[in-house]
């Protein structure tokens, strides 16, 4: 049975198509401003990559910040639940998840495969991917370089402010004092790890700990988090995909509970169309794309 999970995050969109426990397609692409059209395109591309037609997919779960903008999804589930399910499938021993997304960061506690508690950052970019994006502009380095570069630091710079705007000023100040880019990056990672730790600490961190989201692709931040919590963190082979994977797992479970007639009825109502907010096609008008 083919099912799909689609995770429309604030900066990156991910999709997983699976058959049973086997992942048949997994794609990652930037989100951009128009979720509905993007959702269509991502699904279309993913189907093409595994030579499936839309009607062969029995059930689709959408998650993430843009989940309400997936018109062809059968169900929407929060990203917290989907991340938890995805990580639990990969690492059943994990009790605490730290997810560092583009615009938010969150902590999730798991017990016996159930989400028992969670916490999210509030109204502040500190500890999120956006913070690091801003800093890479200031330092003139690429996002994927900052982790390895920070590990070369011998004396992390002191960064006290975690407001993105004030931290930017502080980075300029450190540069003017002659601090190296590596030291500044190490300081930024350390300060963010401290911030994330203080947030996740409210959940009472239990081993094992997994890190997901774009932040988990930053080795500098992972190491800084490990230093802060005092033990190793597990990172999935592709940390961006856990939400979509969890969504696909949920899709599989739900589909298994439905009768063939119920599934058929759902599929008949579903359309894979490139609808959009900006020029919603009326009947008879030419479809976009």
């Amino acid at each position: 049975m083919f099912v799909a999970g689609i995770d429309i995050g604030s900066t990156i969109t991910k999709i997983v198509i699976s058959n049973g426990m086997e992942v048949r397609a997994a794609m990652i692409t930037p989100t951009g401003p128009e979720h509905r059209r993007l959702a269509f395109r991502v699904m279309d591309d993913a189907l093409a990559s595994c030579f499936l037609s839309f009607n062969e997919v029995e059930y689709i779960v959408a998650t993430g910040y843009g989940r309400i903008n997936v018109p062809f999804a059968d169900q929407q589930v929060t990203e917290i639940t989907c991340h938890m399910r995805g990580v639990h499938c990969l690492f059943p021993e994990v009790r605490t998840i730290i997810d560092i997304g583009g615009q938010d960061s969150k902590g999730i506690k798991i017990k016996d495969g159930k989400q028992v508690d969670f916490i999210m950052n509030d109204k502040c970019a500190a500890g999120t991917g956006r913070f690091f994006e801003v800093m890479t502009d200031v330092l003139g380095v690429k996002l994927e370089e900052i982790g390895p570069m920070s590990l070369k630091s011998e004396k992390p710079a002191s960064i006290s402010s975690l407001c993105t705007v004030f931290a930017e000023q502080e980075v300029y100040l450190r540069l003017s004092e002659g601090a190296s880019v590596e030291d500044i990056l190490a300081g930024l990672h350390k300060a963010n790890a401290s911030r994330i730790h203080s947030m996740i600490g409210k959940l009472r961190i239990e081993r094992e700990v997994a890190m997901t989201g774009g932040g988990a692709k930053n080795i500098g931040l992972v190491k800084a988090m490990e230093d802060r919590i005092g033990f190793p963190i597990v990172v999935p082979p592709e940390p961006l995909i856990t939400g979509a994977l969890g969504a696909a797992l949920i899709a599989r479970e739900v589909a298994a509970r439905l009768t063939p007639d119920q599934l058929r009825e759902k599929k008949e109502k579903r359309r894979l169309e490139a609808v959009t907010f900006f020029d919603d096609p009326k009947p008879g008008k030419e479809r976009l794309l």
């Binding site: 910040y65 929060t78 990203e79 917290i80 639940t81 159930k114 989400q115 028992v116 508690d117 969670f118 916490i119 999210m120 509030d122 109204k123 409210k202």
Partner: protein, 453 residues
């Protein structure tokens, strides 16, 4: 085309007919004070003092208005921001109490308009006072708030009423209660002397006694409404309570408030008798702590609609206390001592639960441990406020206590009572949506543990 100048609010639709009528009392306080001032009667601005000072001032012919209530009113009609901005520009930090900043902004406008209420002030505005009655209860910021108003009302005296807010262990020390009561009564005697000097008239103790009798009846009735709310499904939700509370909280001595509560009781009782819930699809029962986002009460209507969440109990500080035992008032003829006992009882009554659960404080914390059981709560909605320490510092502790001791989980959605600029309803919805699954999980845990709900 005419420009639409109306302010978009996020008011609750409320589920009770009586709750929709309750706004009358808030407006009545404001308009009565303006009318009284025109007739030459003295006006006081009073903090919430849990009835410690209100009755005395009123018994002496003073009309009271409550700047905290006014702040909530301005926020509810989304007209607080201009006052907050004025307070900001006056140099008051934006992490100060939202009620205080709203009031400071209003007071500056009042002074700048030669103490004539500026046209367009929400609800008609606050009449110029001859007294500012402050209270040390609950909050340290309140001391400085009324002192700071001296910038704009510099000929108006401030009187600060104190009461000891002892901890759970101290509550059980021998003689603690008697000493506390003595202290409060002494405070009240000093206040009476001050008022008699200010108003050049004597306090009519008989009148005060009669007001107290009425107030105790009203509070008792308000408490009985709370009892009805234990029913499943909940016949009344927080969105109703936050309107219905105005008469018992600010005007319990007013016979009209009592009549109103009789109607509330009848409406809620009818719902209980017929098994009618406040929301049609009650799936989860949550408690709210502590001060609500007055600018966005409709947020809770949306939680009900989306997730079937009924907010079944809320805001410890606004609730009428349980009625005092008969022997508590037996033979007490001094109305000042009755007031002292009422206020003390309100602040101390949950200490028994606090001791049972080995937690503290009784207020702001243990009350929720009691209510979680009585109201069969599935979850706890914590609303920390950057601008309010007392309504925030116990929240995480309460959340953890409920989870550990009663298997009732909590969700944290920060915001502000007044300042709309720091409340993000979308973030709130997102958290609550995820929290629904957590409540499901803990419901299973309670079931496994053989708990009653």
């Amino acid at each position: 085309m005419e420009k639409d100048n109306s302010v978009k609010t996020m008011k609750s639709a409320k589920t009770l007919k009586t709750a929709r009528e309750a706004g009358y009392f808030g407006k009545k306080m404001l308009t009565d004070a303006i009318k009284a001032q025109e007739e030459g009667h003295p006006i006081g601005w009073s903090m919430v003092s849990w009835w410690q000072g209100d009755f005395i001032a009123k018994a002496m012919g003073m009309h009271l208005v409550y700047p905290e209530n006014y702040g909530a009113f301005c926020a509810a009609v989304r007209q607080a921001e201009p006052y907050l901005e004025i307070a900001d520009s006056e140099g008051f930090p934006n992490n100060l109490c939202g009620y205080a900043r709203n009031c400071l902004g209003f007071a500056k406008c009042l002074r700048d308009n030669n103490y004539v209420i500026p046209e367009g002030a929400p609800g008609g505005g606050l009449a110029r006072p001859v007294l500012m009655l402050a209270s040390g209860c609950a909050c340290d910021a309140r001391y400085k708030w009324f002192q700071s108003l001296g910038r704009y009302l510099n000929d108006v005296p401030v009187w600060n009423l104190e009461m000891p807010q002892t901890g759970v262990k101290e509550y059980y020390l021998p003689g603690n209660k008697e000493k506390n009561l003595r202290f409060i009564v002494a405070e009240l005697r000093e206040f009476v002397k001050f008022m008699e000097n200010l108003l050049k008239k004597k306090l009519d103790y008989d009148k005060l006694h009669a007001m107290l009798d009425q107030a105790l009846k009203t509070l008792n009735l308000a408490w009985q409404v709370d009892l009805l709310r234990r029913a499943v499904p909940s016949p009344m939700v927080s969105q109703d309570f936050w309107s219905v509370m105005i008469p018992h909280f600010y005007l319990p001595d007013d016979p009209e408030a009592y009549s109103f509560y009789e109607r509330v009781y009848a409406e809620v009782k009818e719902k209980v008798d017929n098994g009618i819930g406040a929301i049609p699809n009650e799936k989860y029962r949550m408690m709210f702590s502590e001060l609500p986002p007055w600018h966005s009460i409709g947020f809770f209507d949306e939680l009900a609609k989306r997730y079937g969440i009924a907010m079944v109990m809320e805001s410890w500080n606004y609730h009428a206390p349980t009625p005092m035992a008969e022997e508590e008032l037996h033979g007490i003829n001094d109305p000042l001592e009755i007031i002292a006992r009422l206020t003390y009882h309100k602040w101390m009554e949950h200490n028994t639960v606090a001791r049972e659960f080995d937690t503290a404080p009784g207020f702001f914390n243990a009350a929720y441990l009691r209510w979680a059981q009585e109201y069969k709560a599935d979850g706890f909605f914590a609303h920390p406020l950057l601008s309010c320490r007392p309504a925030t510092y116990t929240l995480m502790h309460t959340r953890n206590s409920l989870e550990e001791k009663l298997k009732v989980p909590g969700v944290v959605v920060p915001g502000d009572i007044i300042d709309l600029r720091v409340f993000n309803s979308d973030e709130g919805f997102s958290k609550v949506e995820a929290f629904v699954e957590t409540m499901d999980h803990y419901r299973e845990l309670r079931k496994e543990a053989g708990m009653a709900w």
